[in-house]
């Protein structure tokens, strides 16, 4: 399969007046054409930073891409000038943001906000543009009669649909969905996910699904990458990651230990102990070692390499290197 997006050894830092936050520390990630990659991790692991780096939307002056490369359809996004990257944004790569409540401009009508996304990349007549807004709204299940309404007249689920409509209005090749359902309640979550899955099939997009909800991953992803402190620590197909007979990274095991399994009797869930590593003061060696139950001496001073576990499954942990030898 051909890769639509390749991220190579990406390092991103946030520079504040007090300290430097090492948000991404050598991310390698590929997304194949037409597939959905799930990017899973705790809050603060660097998921959104990856998304913003792809579109080069890191807050200027604060977030900096230090090294590495991001290739889209074989061409580096980092080498594009401002005009060129604007042509990619919203046209070839679209993004759905986390918080539907604050991601729409309160003083512009919903129709105008969708029309703007299309108008920036297509030269259409007024009538064609208006027709396209209508059909995009209907695609996400909002009656076209509501296009002259403002965001405050919509519910949270409806707003998220509008945001999805904006992202899909230009038929992007890659859709980045940054926790699209986190701010929504469960019934609306299901609707929105169903909608995204359906549209993905219809429009044949690739998708980067950022989430911390493993249920969503199981439902719609083809591949899964687990991220911890700005490093991918495990990667594989959704079957490999969810396969309990396989060996996993201790962190992945911890993540699965903290979701309820309805088929087994469990008294308590086991959370991953400790807190996410501080990106301003990362531990030596493996970033996960202070929280790891299976920590060894080597983990404290040497960063582990990625090792193949068979198939497409990779784990970045010293445990397996030893066993494989």
């Amino acid at each position: 399969m051909e890769n639509i997006l390749e991220i190579k050894d990406l390092h991103v830092q946030y520079q504040t007046s007090e300290d430097t936050n090492y948000a991404l520390n050598g991310i390698d990630l590929n997304i194949q054409k037409g597939e959905t990659l799930g990017l899973v991790g705790e809050t603060g692991a660097g998921k959104t930073t990856i998304a913003l780096s792809i579109l080069r939307l890191l807050q200027s002056g604060v977030g900096q891409i230090k090294s590495g490369d991001i290739l889209f359809e074989g061409k580096s996004l980092l080498e594009l000038n401002d005009t060129e990257i604007r042509k990619v944004r919203g046209d070839k790569i679209s993004m759905i943001f986390q918080d539907p409540m604050s991601s729409l401009n309160p003083v512009l009508t919903v129709g105008d906000q969708i029309a703007e996304a299309i108008d920036l990349h297509r030269s259409l007549s007024k009538q064609e543009l208006s027709d396209m807004v209508d059909s995009t709204l209907e695609l996400v299940g909002i009656p076209k009669s509501r296009k002259n309404d403002y965001p405050h007249q919509f519910s949270g689920g409806m707003k998220q649909r509008v945001i999805i409509a904006i992202a899909l209005s230009t038929n992007p090749e890659l859709l980045i969905a940054d926790e699209p359902t986190t701010a929504l309640d469960v019934t609306i979550q299901a609707q929105v996910l169903h909608l995204m899955e359906e549209l993905k099939q219809k429009l044949n997009m690739s998708m980067l699904m950022i989430t911390h909800d493993l249920g969503i991953v199981a439902q719609i992803c083809d591949h899964v990458a687990i991220i911890y402190a700005g490093k991918i620590i495990e990667y594989g197909t959704v079957y490999e990651i969810f396969d309990k007979s396989r060996e996993h990274h201790p962190y992945t095991k911890g993540l699965f230990g903290s979701i309820p399994d309805l088929t087994v009797e469990t008294r308590r869930l086991t959370p991953v102990k400790g807190l996410m590593a501080d990106p301003a003061d990362l531990p030596e060696g493996c970033y996960f070692h202070p929280r790891c139950d299976e920590c060894m001496e080597i983990c404290k001073n040497k960063v582990p390499d990625s090792c193949g576990m068979g198939g497409e499954h990779y784990v970045r942990c010293h445990l397996f290197k030893e066993r494989q030898v």
């Binding site: 939307l57 046209d91 679209s94 993004m95 401009n105 309160p106 003083v107 920036l120 405050h152 945001i163």
Partner: protein
């Protein structure tokens, strides 16, 4: 919307009544006698009593107040104690000068302050930002009458480019406008800057960028409109201050406006003149505030919806 405007216009009535009571009371508190002020030190008691009877100032204060307010209801602003001419004529004659000056100040200060505020917010912490901040501080710190005198010294006295005094031609308005605009420019600019800084970090700005919108569109279409509400409030308030500040500036530049009328009225305890000048200024201020509130509705649909839902 119509209901909202009507309600707000009705609210103006108690405001004006309150102001009239305060101003009238303050005028009564001053111990001088208008008739004495007009006739001078050498006038006899009989002359003063006769004039007081003619002006009505020998009547009890409450009666004087109701006489004036009664006239007001019929559109009669009374006669000036000093000139015996209807105050209405004087105000109609002088009002355009003050109003024109205030409008000029509003236009000039808005046209300068908003672009500067936006630019310094976009280049936060840059040299440009630092310089505009310092200039803003300087402009705020300068007393307006002093600035007026300095401008006069430079442009009228030394360079002789502009006339020092008068209010008959447009050229007379240049220095007063600059003087009154200075502080407005500073405060509006700082207001625009901080409001823009807040808006520019909002998620919907990132959404606009993610659509591929060029920076100019992001700033003007998406950010500025959201940032304008506090700025519009400040512009409206400043308009009120300009009307008030005109008292000082009009006398510095000897302009024939409401400000000098008011000042002369206070000097001679000319109650009808002072009351009328203050009430007219207050009325304008109330109307401007209402216009500002209505303009919110055009800027932000959420506020418009509130206006429309109000019963």
């Amino acid at each position: 919307m119509g209901r909202f405007v009507l309600k707000r216009l009705l609210q103006v009535i108690p405001v004006l009544i309150g102001i009239s009571i305060i101003i009238f009371t303050i005028m009564q508190l001053s111990p001088s006698n208008p008739a004495r002020l007009i006739l001078g030190e050498k006038a006899t008691e009989e002359q003063i009593e006769a004039l007081s009877a003619e002006l009505g100032t020998d009547q009890p204060a409450v009666k004087q107040y109701f006489n004036y307010m009664g006239g007001l209801l019929h559109g009669d602003l009374g006669n000036s104690y000093r000139t015996r001419m209807p105050v209405m004529d004087e105000i109609v004659d002088r009002f355009p000068t003050t109003f024109f000056l205030a409008i000029l100040v509003m236009v000039v200060s808005t046209a300068i302050s908003i672009p500067l505020g936006v630019l310094s917010s976009l280049r936060q912490n840059s040299l440009f930002d630092a310089i505009t901040t310092i200039i803003a501080l300087l402009l705020t710190a300068m007393p307006s009458f002093w600035l007026g005198l300095m401008l006069m010294l430079i442009f009228a006295e030394k360079l002789q480019w502009l006339p020092a005094i008068g209010s008959t031609e447009f050229i007379h308005f240049i220095m007063p406008t600059l003087t009154l605009s200075a502080a407005n420019i500073a405060s509006n600019m700082r207001m625009t800057r901080s409001s823009m800084l807040e808006v520019i970090r909002q998620d919907y700005i990132r959404t606009a960028r993610a659509k591929g919108a060029p920076e100019k569109v992001v700033i003007v279409k998406h950010a500025l409109k959201n940032a304008l509400i506090p700025v519009v409030t400040a512009i409206g308030m400043n308009f009120g201050w300009s009307l008030g500040g005109a008292v000082l500036i009009e006398s510095v530049f000897s302009m024939k406006g409401l400000g000098t009328l008011l000042l002369n009225g206070v000097r001679t305890k000319d109650v009808p003149v002072v009351m009328s000048a203050v009430l007219v200024t207050s009325l304008i201020f109330c109307v401007v505030t209402l216009l500002v509130d209505i303009s919110y509705g055009f800027i932000d649909p959420r506020i418009k919806a509130q206006y429309e839902n109000k019963r």
